[in-house]
Amino acid sequence: MSLAGQIVNLIAALLLLVSFAMLSQRRVRDLVDLFMIQGALLAAATLVTAVATGQSHLYYSAALTVALKVIVLPLILRRVLRRLALETDVELLINIPTTMLVGIALVVVAFNMAVPISQLAGTITRGALGIALACVLLAFLMMITRRKALAQVVGFLSMENGLFFAATSVTYGMPMVVELGIALDVLVGTFVFGVFFFRIRETFDSLDTSHFEKLKDR
């Protein structure tokens, strides 16, 4: 495996670590920080791939990632946090050790799932697919276990990161037009989330999703 491949794999491992860190993190502010680190790692991985393969659009992709996920989104999230003066602790539905155990199981599943696919991929970074999938699943798990709306949003965005990483690792990124579209959606989505937080806060005085259990058929 090439050096670039090894570097990407290293970054991938770090991404997985960050994902686990997010899973175990109780504080929303730290979650946002971790999200930012994840974005930075993603950009780095993209950049390394771009350098190694000379795919020019990956440079744009890396730049886009930095702009969006390292700068803009954390900015928005922090602003929201500050404006809403959110309480810092995130309540969990399942305790952290259990979550971690489930997370490890998910990683096993994800790796297992990814092996046949990554063997078919022609990229230098293909080994990272398993990690990308694991990131997606871990983010999913995080959304499930968190009660605070903001934590769910961070989970959602982190899932998006995982997807981007998957795209970069197996196919050197999606076509530019698609990537731009996705970025736009993510950006608008975050804005909408922001609007939402204010509305929710206005209505419920908290961002706890336990208020959101009125619509049911039980």
Partner: protein, 669 residues
């Protein structure tokens, strides 16, 4: 005109279009009640035309037509053959009489929106015609469900009442269950024939297990509409709820479309195969008949009583069909023809009689605003026209000679009498029991009719308001007279009618009653004169001349003096209307004898009760054994399923997550 005659099918379609146009006119006339009323005589004209056209088509070669409607690969196929012509004839007669009286019935206040009712009425009858004409499954189901829908809306005309809405709901749900069964039935047939047209189904002989499945489904599907046990529960609810002309059509014609369907599927499409089907039909039919008559005997609402009586009659028809199937399966075609003729004749009779009686109850309802038998009585004085015409209907429904109801009963008993020829031992043993059930039902039908007629029309009025009841108007009279005359004609000249009906049996069985039945117009001799004969015209002539002779004898030999005096009544001084026997009183012995049939709740006061109250409710056990358990089961399953939808977003995410993982693992396996 000659061209018009040459194609009865397109002429009938013309009448259907005319009816739909009338319905639209009705809506356009909207709230102008009297204007809407006068649409109905035109409807009656269409009905008469259909009856006449169908009469000419009986025995003629089948005519087919494909309308450019329906699905792209399955346009509406229509076909007019003897079977459909017979049922169209029945429909035409009933529609004519009922529509005439409807012109009188739909007076001010009878319906909140007369225009809409008019539209629904016309859609209803038009749909029934299309049901009978349809020659492919899609057209049939479309017409079938349109019929159900139109009649549902008619049933719920007076939907402000909770119980009417409940009745309508029950009706439509049962109808829908039936329609689903029919859909599957046609699906099975189609699976074997490769096409949804009846022509294709007719062309193949379907293998045994599938044919049995199709027959069972048809029995369920049509049974839900006809009111075979245990799918009868809607009928006594829906019939009373509807406006009387609609009850008349539902009972008189709509139930017959179910019989039509059953005959079509069993004899025409499946070519009747197993004798076991016949046994099933026979048993269900006779149980239904007995059940219907038992419940009719305990009813206290005149329209409910008639509704239960309809259940009884439909049961009798099914029994006859079952017998026909048995005979047919054993290769005894001429006996099968006899049973089938009995079934068809009974359909025709019941259509006319029930139309007559429901129309009569309509007139009563109009004059008195009362449906409860406990608040009627003595109407023969205030409403002589209705009362005397209803007497014809009541006697006919009681199965008394020389009216029409007796003819079909007679034919059916004849065919039962020949059933010992069946080679199967068990079946032979079953037949006497079936005969016993049939005659028991017939005898109780007379009981029920005496109760009905006696309580409504005879005796003293049970409410003071009845003193001011007015007789039916000219339109209602016309309709009643028309139907009563048909009752008498069908009763007096059965041989002439059977000569025509025989075309249907020839079509369905390949063999009819033949010459024996139709040689003599005066006497009905289905097999041979020495075996059995019945000459209602002579019968009536003898009775009539005996009446005249007696009358003359008494007048000539003695005198005709008459004095009016208070009733004697064994000398009891104070006689009030409340001392007469009530509908409940009539029900009481039946309840006692057939107690296990009923679910009775009673509150009986003890001797020291200061404010004694007596109260009793008689209900259908099947309601508690079948309908409520099913409803409870669905509710329980729903409650379990609803637990999944508990509102917490994290769990919803878990569903997605688990689904995803499960699928991923599944796909890797």
């Amino acid at each position: 005109m000659s061209q018009f005659l040459q194609s009865p099918l397109s002429s009938i379609l013309g009448v259907v279009a005319f009816w739909l146009a009338l319905g639209t006119i009705g809506v356009a006339l909207g709230r102008d009640r009297d204007g809407v009323r006068f649409v109905y005589p035109a409807t009656a004209l269409g009905g008469a035309l259909i009856a006449w056209l169908a009469g000419t088509a009986l025995g003629a070669d089948p005519v087919s037509l494909v309308l450019p409607l329906g699905l792209p690969d399955l346009p509406f196929h229509l076909r007019l053959d003897s079977l459909s012509a017979f049922f169209l004839f029945l429909l035409g007669l009933a529609v004519t009489g009922v529509s005439l009286s409807a012109a009188g019935y739909f007076r001010a206040g009878s319906s909140p929106s007369p225009g809409l009712t008019c539209l629904q009425y016309h859609v209803f009858i038009a749909a029934m015609v299309m049901v009978i004409l349809a020659d492919d499954a899609y057209a049939f189901l479309v017409a079938w469900e349109s019929m159900a829908l139109a009649s549902y809306f008619l049933v719920t005309t007076d939907h402000r009442h909770e119980e009417i809405r409940a009745a309508g709901f029950l009706y439509l749900v049962v109808a829908h269950v039936g329609a689903i069964a029919l859909l599957v039935c046609f699906g099975v047939l189609q699976g074997q024939a490769g096409s949804f047209t009846f022509d294709a189904m007719r062309g193949v002989t379907i293998a045994a297990p599938w044919a049995g499945v199709a027959f069972s489904l048809a029995l369920v599907g049509f049974g839900a509409k006809a009111g075979f046990l245990p799918l009868h529960a809607w009928l006594p609810e829906a019939h009373p709820a509807a406006p009387s002309p609609v009850s008349a059509l539902m009972s008189g014609v709509m139930l017959k479309t179910a019989i039509y369907g059953l005959l079509r599927v069993t004899f025409d499409l499946l070519h009747t195969q197993a004798s076991a089907w016949g046994v099933v039909a026979l048993v269900i039919g006779l149980v239904t008949a007995l059940f219907g008559v038992m419940f009719a005997a305990v009813q206290t609402d005149m329209k409910r009583l008639l509704a239960y009586s309809s259940i009884e009659n439909v049961g009798v028809v099914l029994g006859a069909i079952g017998l026909a199937i048995v005979f047919r399966a054993h290769g005894m075609a001429s006996l099968a023809a006899l049973s089938l003729v009995a079934a068809l004749y009974h359909c025709l009779n019941h259509a006319v009689v029930k139309s007559l009686l429901f129309s009569a109850t309509g007139a009563v309802l109009h004059a008195t605003d009362q449906r409860s038998l406990g608040r009627l009585g003595g109407l023969i004085h205030r409403m002589p026209w209705v009362a005397w015409l209803a007497l014809v209907g009541a006697l006919s429904l009681a199965g008394l000679p020389p009216l029409n109801g007796f003819v079909s009963e007679w034919l059916l008993l004849q065919s039962f009498l020949f059933s010992p020829d069946i080679p199967d031992g068990y079946l032979r043993m079953l037949v006497p029991l079936a005969t016993a059930a049939l005659v028991l039902a017939a005898a109780f039908a007379a009981y029920v009719m005496v109760k009905f007629y006696g309580v409504v029309f005879l005796g003293q009025p049970r409410e003071p308001s009845l003193e001011t009841a007015h007789d039916a108007g000219p339109w209602e009279r016309a309709g009643l007279v028309f139907l009563a005359v048909w009752c008498v004609l069908l009763g007096l000249f059965p041989a002439l009618v059977i000569r025509r009906i025989d075309a249907v049996t020839v079509q369905l069985l390949g063999e009819g009653l033949g010459d024996a039945a139709t040689r003599d117009w005066l006497f009905l001799t289905p097999m041979a004169t020495e075996r059995a004969s019945y000459g209602p015209a002579l019968f009536l002539a003898v009775i009539a001349s005996a009446v005249l002779a007696t009358f003359a004898y008494v007048r000539v030999r003695h005198h005709g003096r008459l004095r009016r005096a208070p009733a004697w009544d064994c000398g009891y001084p104070a006689q009030t209307a409340r001392m007469q026997d009530t509908a409940e009183g009539f029900g009481q012995p039946v309840k006692q004898i057939f107690e296990p049939f009923f679910r009775i709740e009673r509150v009986i006061p003890d001797p020291f009760d200061r404010a004694p109250r007596y109260w009793s409710k008689t209900e259908d056990r099947l309601w508690y054994w079948l309908y409520l358990p099913v409803a409870r089961l669905v509710a329980a399953v729903s409650a379990q399923v609803a637990r999944l939808q508990h509102g917490r977003i994290q769990w919803y995410l878990v569903y997605s997550f688990v689904t995803l993982l499960a699928l991923l693992i599944f796909i890797r396996l």
